[in-house]
């Protein structure tokens, strides 16, 4: 029996705790200047003056207790295993935090003259080179804020490329049916029509299927390798060739790059554009949903299309280059998610070139090990039982009971372990998508497999009343889906 109990505080909302006459921090104010302005609010024109600011009133300790209690009702990587498939919830080294905490970083303003930020620019320049090396691309822009924004940049590059080459009629992007939802969403945002490519019974995309769907309207294809089933796409080179032959460009969704470091590079496979999720593969904290960083890399012939800025190096030192001739433009207000980039750089240096290769080797070994440790009758592989997994494994929950994958997911929470991703990819029924990462010690993988196996027994006995050891029981998500519940009413 699981011995886990998550804290439960019944913590009120901030506004419920508020009492007039309290404040949680002191505000700096130069006494000399303060004395000169008796009624500062009158500096705002009367028609534009704020009447009331309905913020809570709490002491510093009250605020800290509130959020510390909330934190105790939140599961995280540093508490236990968090094998959300496709999210690469690996451990994030503490030294990266210590480095990023310096005022030389925190207090750097993005509009400072470049000669006053040579330190961070030199780090970015090197990071661009590292990412090129890992992916086999020729240049990188670090400016995009997350994977989805990197994807958006990538498809905009394709669009601009075809526009420049007089092929505006190319308005279709091929996306496999196993792809992340962000792929079709990004393509649609860039104005493309999405053409779905079916995967075959082994879970892979065949070049012949791609050939059938290409035409002079094909702008390109977004392809995730290894795919969301955790399988290496064995015809990736042929797929690239088929799309290139049709005049399209190939986009590599780097969400699953944690399987490939030092083993295979998208550039060598034939891809033209790549994005990486630094918060996944390069170990920056996920922050409860973000921030991330989603740099975009391209081959030499596309280097002028990258989103600006990119960091370049000249006689005067490092600088931000906004002058790329065919750039798709900027997608973010300032530079990039710089503090995330710095942490990713630190991670790369902690491991070094061969260490990165070990990361992928051990991540793949862990995924295969965990998969093989599962009860194979209870959790049959969705596709290709005989194939090796890469960074993650997707299994079905064998059950006649609808919602059984969700029941498994809720039941595993009671062990103090996070559930795998559920019901994704969409092409797998009752799917569990398990990505242990290289961070978990062998014993933890054993424990997790044992927990899943034992949970399955309860599920087949028809038990659905999970979870019981978390701070709340099963949440009514239907009731929540009414927009009137989006904020507190005072």
């Amino acid at each position: 029996m699981p011995g886990f109990r998550q804290a439960r505080w019944n913590e009120p909302l901030l506004n419920e705790m508020s009492r007039p006459g309290r404040v949680g921090t002191s505000v700096a104010a130069d006494p000399y200047i303060k004395g000169k302005f008796r009624n500062p609010a009158s500096l705002v024109p009367p028609a534009m003056r704020r009447k009331d600011i309905p913020l809570p009133e709490l002491s510093e300790l009250q605020v800290l207790r509130h959020f510390n209690r909330l934190s105790q009702m939140n599961y995280s990587v540093e508490l236990g295993m968090y094998p959300l498939g496709s999210c690469t919830m690996k451990y994030n080294p503490k030294v990266s935090e210590a480095i990023a905490a310096t005022d030389y970083m925190r207090q750097a303003h993005p509009l400072q003259p470049e000669e006053t930020v040579q330190g961070i620019l030199s780090v970015f320049y090197e990071l661009q080179q590292f990412l090129c090396e890992v992916t086999g691309m020729s240049s990188f822009s670090l400016s995009t804020a997350a994977g989805a924004q990197g994807e958006f940049a990538g498809v905009l590059i394709m669009r601009k490329f075809h526009g420049v080459h007089g092929a505006r009629q190319r308005d279709e992007i091929l996306v496999p049916d196993s792809a992340h939802g962000t792929n079709p969403a990004s393509a649609a945002m860039a104005g493309f029509k999405v053409v779905k490519v079916p995967s075959d019974s082994s879970g892979q995309v065949r070049a012949s299927a791609v050939e059938e769907l290409t035409s002079d309207r094909t702008a390109g294809m977004m392809f995730t390798v290894p795919n969301t089933l955790g399988l290496f796409e064995s015809e990736v080179a042929e797929v690239c060739r088929a799309v290139h032959d049709a005049g399209g460009l190939m986009y590599y969704d780097g969400a699953n790059m944690n399987a490939m470091l030092g083993r295979a590079r998208p550039g060598d496979m034939g891809f033209d554009v790549v994005h990486l999720n630094l918060h996944k593969t390069f170990a920056t904290p996920h922050g409860g949903g973000g921030p991330g960083a989603g740099p975009v890399g391209v081959t030499k012939s596309l280097s002028e299309y990258l989103p600006v800025p990119v960091v370049s190096r000249g006689k005067q030192g490092y600088s931000l280059d906004y002058g790329l001739k065919r750039s798709i433009g900027p997608l973010k207000g300032f530079v990039g998610n710089s503090a995330v980039l710095l942490r990713a750089y630190a991670y790369i240096r902690l491991l070094g070139g061969s260490g990165l290769t070990d990361v992928s080797s051990l991540a793949v070994l862990a995924a295969n090990y965990l998969w093989k440790s599962l009860d194979q009758d209870a959790f049959p592989a969705s596709h290709g039982r005989e194939l090796r997994r890469k960074h993650e494994a997707v299994v079905s929950v064998k059950s006649e009971l609808p919602g059984s994958a969700m029941t498994v997911a809720k039941a595993i929470l009671d062990y103090g372990m996070h559930s795998p991703t559920v019901y994704f990819p969409l092409i797998v029924r009752e799917a569990l998508m398990i990505e242990p990462t290289e961070s978990e010690p062998l014993e933890m993988l054993d424990e997790y497999a044992a927990a899943l196996n034992s949970v399955y027994k309860s599920v087949t006995e028809g038990k659905t009343e999970f979870p019981n050891n978390t701070s709340v029981g099963r949440v009514d998500e239907v009731k929540a889906s009414h927009p009137m519940t989006l904020k507190v009413r005072w």
Partner: protein
């Protein structure tokens, strides 16, 4: 993998673990696990990345490298433009560095993630109150991309293909809006501003307003720091032609300046960075996004957290992600946006920050900021050869200073050399027709700092 040393990040790298695991997997070697990669595609070289660095050497090397950055406290920073120097109470960092928040992810399993969900729900509530909106999402990447999403949303909601954007909007944000809007077939057109006041020209807006206009986007205070006194007139004009009013804000200004919901804004975006988030050379920051009509919530981009109950106990409050059918993981190409990973941690920082300052602290902050900024503008006015402030409109914490005879770019660089970051050059992007720089003064600046700024400017002219 043979003969590997143990590594702090790789608990299974030792040969004994590797061989035990391989045995279970039924493979002779780790390489065999990659045998599905066609031989021609296998990377056989060595990654040209330096070998692993011990923690101490890396820390020493990187801190040495970063110390080449010129930053406060040794250097003074009077830069703004969408990222602003403000003090972050120590308690904010204490909260955001709680690893339970910090190393979690999107709360897909609400039962075990109530802490982050409640914190994000409280962030949404605080934002609704601060912006005067009916619904706010739990974050987008930053102000510029939020503005881009807002213009796209206006296009979706109205079915129209034109956006009017103030010429006194941040030039960087103008470009990002274009990058976001153009693929949707939305054309952007600029509305001019009054070159004396610095505020938008309502006559030019009326001239360009047609039934094709999906939205007008303006900022308040605008890029020049000037409060748009006629904001209500602008939103009324847009509404009269069936378009939406989208307003961008610096949330600190809302301590004294009216909330956009009170003057007719339909969508508010903004930069949450000054709410307890470091400038960090450009990010991660916090894109704010809210709507003034609950019906518009279904067209919003980004994650939304809602208040609900436990299924078995209607008295037990609980939180969950809601209206997910708008989002990419469900709706794919028909989603309202492709956003997945957002800036939740920054939303947590902002919620902590606003709770700490509270009603009175936040107002005091606004009063301090506006006083310091006016004190500085008056002080700089005494420097020979400058006009400070350049515009006559009311301002909050930023203002433009123009130079009679000097080049703004060289003034900027010379002051930086003297240890004062101030006067971001404006002439190229904003067409103000004078050599001028943007100055930002907040609660972090003292009288002495402002004297040093005045001295540096005088010497740089």
């Amino acid at each position: 993998m043979k003969g590997k040393h143990a590594h702090p990040l790789l608990p299974n790298s030792d040969e004994s673990f590797v061989s035990a695991m391989l045995k279970k997997v039924g493979a002779a070697s780790v390489d065999e696990l990659f045998s599905d990669v066609p031989p021609g595609l296998r990377f056989r070289g060595k990654l040209r990345i330096p070998e692993a660095s011990p923690e101490y050497f890396l820390r020493r090397e990187l801190l040495t490298k970063l110390s080449a950055n010129r930053t406060p406290p040794a250097t003074l920073c009077f830069l703004g433009g969408g990222v602003w120097p403000h003090y972050i109470p120590a308690a904010v960092d204490s909260i955001t560095s709680r690893q339970e928040f910090y190393t979690s992810y999107t709360p897909y399993q609400p039962e075990i993630s109530q802490g982050m969900l409640q914190a994000l729900f409280e962030f949404q509530s605080l934002m609704c109150d601060l912006l005067g909106m009916q619904a706010c999402n739990s974050s987008l990447y930053d102000w510029a991309s939020a503005a881009g999403e807002a213009v796209r949303m206006a296009g979706r909601v109205t079915g129209r293909k034109k956006a009017l954007v103030g010429a006194n909007v941040g030039p960087g944000r103008r470009k990002v809006i274009e990058t976001y809007a153009e693929p949707m077939g939305i054309k952007t057109e600029t509305i001019g501003y009054d070159t004396t006041e610095g505020t938008l020209d309502p006559a030019d807006l009326r001239r360009k307003l047609t039934d094709e206009v999906a939205c007008v986007y303006f900022e308040n205070p605008n890029y020049f720091g000037v409060v748009e006194e006629g904001a209500e007139e602008l939103t009324k004009a847009v509404h009269s032609r069936g378009g939406l009013a989208v307003v961008g804000v610096d949330p600190i200004s809302l301590s004294l300046v009216r909330e956009p919901g009170a003057y007719g804004s339909d969508i508010v975006v903004g930069e949450g960075q000054p709410l307890g988030i470091p400038m960090n050379y450009g990010g991660p920051h916090l894109g704010l996004f809210g709507v003034n009509d609950i019906k518009l919530a279904r067209s919003m981009p980004g994650r939304l957290i809602g208040l609900t109950t436990a299924a078995a106990d209607p008295a037990q409050k609980a939180f969950a992600m809601v209206l997910q059918s708008r989002e990419q993981h469900i709706r794919r190409e028909a989603a309202t946006s492709n956003v997945c990973t957002n800036q939740s941690l920054m939303a947590l920082a902002a919620a902590s920050y606003l709770s700490l300052l509270g009603k009175n602290g936040f107002r005091t902050l606004g009063e301090t900021v506006i006083s310091n900024a006016h004190f500085a503008a008056e002080r700089l006015a005494k420097v020979k050869g400058v006009k400070s402030p350049h515009f006559e409109g009311h301002f909050f914490k930023e203002f433009v200073v123009s130079y009679a005879r000097a080049r703004s770019r060289s003034v900027f660089k010379r002051m930086a050399k003297a240890g004062v970051l101030a006067g971001y050059p404006l002439e190229r992007e904003s067409g103000i027709g004078a050599e001028a720089g943007l100055y930002c003064v907040t609660e972090v600046h003292t009288k002495d700092d402002i004297e040093r700024l005045a001295g540096a400017l005088e010497a740089a002219l």
